[in-house]
Chain length 253, copies 2
């Protein structure tokens, strides 16, 4: 077992946001595994084998990657953003945990990437400027009640939120239900950002108040960010406003 | 006002984890501003002016950067990790908000970086594999009671936690008090990771159970991660175990 398994975060899309560490691992790999659109971002190389699987087949893909590495291949499993944030890293280690004990001796290296929430926050100012959390709205892997509990807990505790997997064809109502939940805990004017395809040619950033936010503005490529009552808006005539959350919490006296 | 202001996340330390976008902006800058150890990571360039300030002078540094950009300079303000995560981005936008209205017309670009928590999670497996939060333990900028409230809320809601600014000479007791708070809400065997100087020559990663975690193992360069009852440990004879938090939440039936 002299193979290697890289689990790589490709970043949000633009090549200039992919780390040299990720690029070097991609160049070294004999086998590339991932969801089609993410594998499609990696330049093709002669001799490198591409194994494309559907978005819902993470554990199958993880086991396949481990088998290839155990066979001595140099394997790269790719995710968008950071592979440790709702990406392939957790799936691979779950497959190791439940799989062949020999896999625990494999050389596995996780290569972090720029996550969608950092790229989105950067575009709009400094939305994540104080304590924040990341929540996946997908209820494929956890009960919806738990999603609602976490949204309510984060809102009451004053965390800025980054909502991953807000919406898909198979999950059309979750983001609207999340907004309904948040409206019970946050002011109607709380800023909401829809950040879609950040750093890619079809990038779009939109800002709404919580009371007006229309969930159907989001799609699978959207990260939704929810401010707190501390998040501030800097108006700029003729330009998109900047949003930032101050580092200081002012004590009300 | 034809200047430019870049707010740059340098990543955790290793050059291979710094994005090409950050490197290009650093190469373009006429003026570099930041805390000494972070500015010190940037290779010196003839003609580029370095303005080094102390760690506690963020707003002063932010105003200085804005004044230089307003004077037509190409300014780079640097943070470790991601500048939007407890870094300089929030301080700069706060300075814009409270400062000269003309600053709102400046060309300001935030360049995201690999945050300490992503680099640390990658080293240990996939600790942040499901919903997670980031909390700064510094009570310089917010009341300590609010820190405790957020720790308790995050523990009860099942978020993995990344604790920034756990300890410094001026704040020696906060991490111990945070562990005491967490012990009231989390199992004694909850895994705790101390990740220090990740990707730098003196990198160190240590894993403890919550019941045994000694706050004095941390210093200013340490990121502390707190698992949940879902976080799993993969034992590897002769090697550091891997930790991962599964994407799925198993419903107890």
């Amino acid at each position: 077992m002299s193979g290697k398994l890289y689990i790589i975060g490709l970043g949000p899309g633009a090549a200039e946001m992919q780390t040299p560490q990720a690029a070097a691992a991609l160049a070294e790999a004999t086998d590339l595994l991932g969801y089609g659109p993410y594998v499609g971002r990696v330049p093709e190389r002669p001799g490198q084998v591409r194994h494309i699987t559907d978005n819902r087949e993470e554990l199958f893909r993880a086991r396949h990657a481990l088998e290839l590495a155990a066979d001595g291949r140099i394997v790269a499993v790719v995710s968008a953003g950071d592979a440790g944030v709702f990406g392939m890293a957790s799936a691979v280690f779950e497959a190791v945990h439940k799989g062949d004990p020999a896999w625990r001796q494999l050389d596995i290296e996780v290569i972090p990437g720029i996550s969608a929430m950092f790229a989105a926050a950067a575009r709009i100012g400094a939305m994540l400027g104080h304590d924040f959390c990341a929540i996946s709205l997908s209820d494929n892997l956890k009960p919806w009640e738990l999603v609602l509990e976490r949204l309510a807990a984060a809102a009451k505790a004053g965390f800025v939120m980054a909502l991953y997997n807000p919406l898909s064809r198979a999950r059309p109502w979750q983001l609207g239900a999340a907004f309904d939940c948040l409206r019970r805990h946050l002011a109607p004017t709380t800023p909401i950002v829809f950040a879609t395809a950040i750093s890619r040619p079809d990038e779009q950033v939109e800002i709404f108040d919580l009371r007006d936010a229309d969930p159907l503005r989001a799609d699978m490529r959207t990260l939704v960010m929810i401010g707190t009552d501390a998040t501030r808006r800097i108006e700029r005539p003729g330009n998109t406003p900047w949003l930032y959350t101050p580092r200081s919490v002012e004590t009300i006296t």
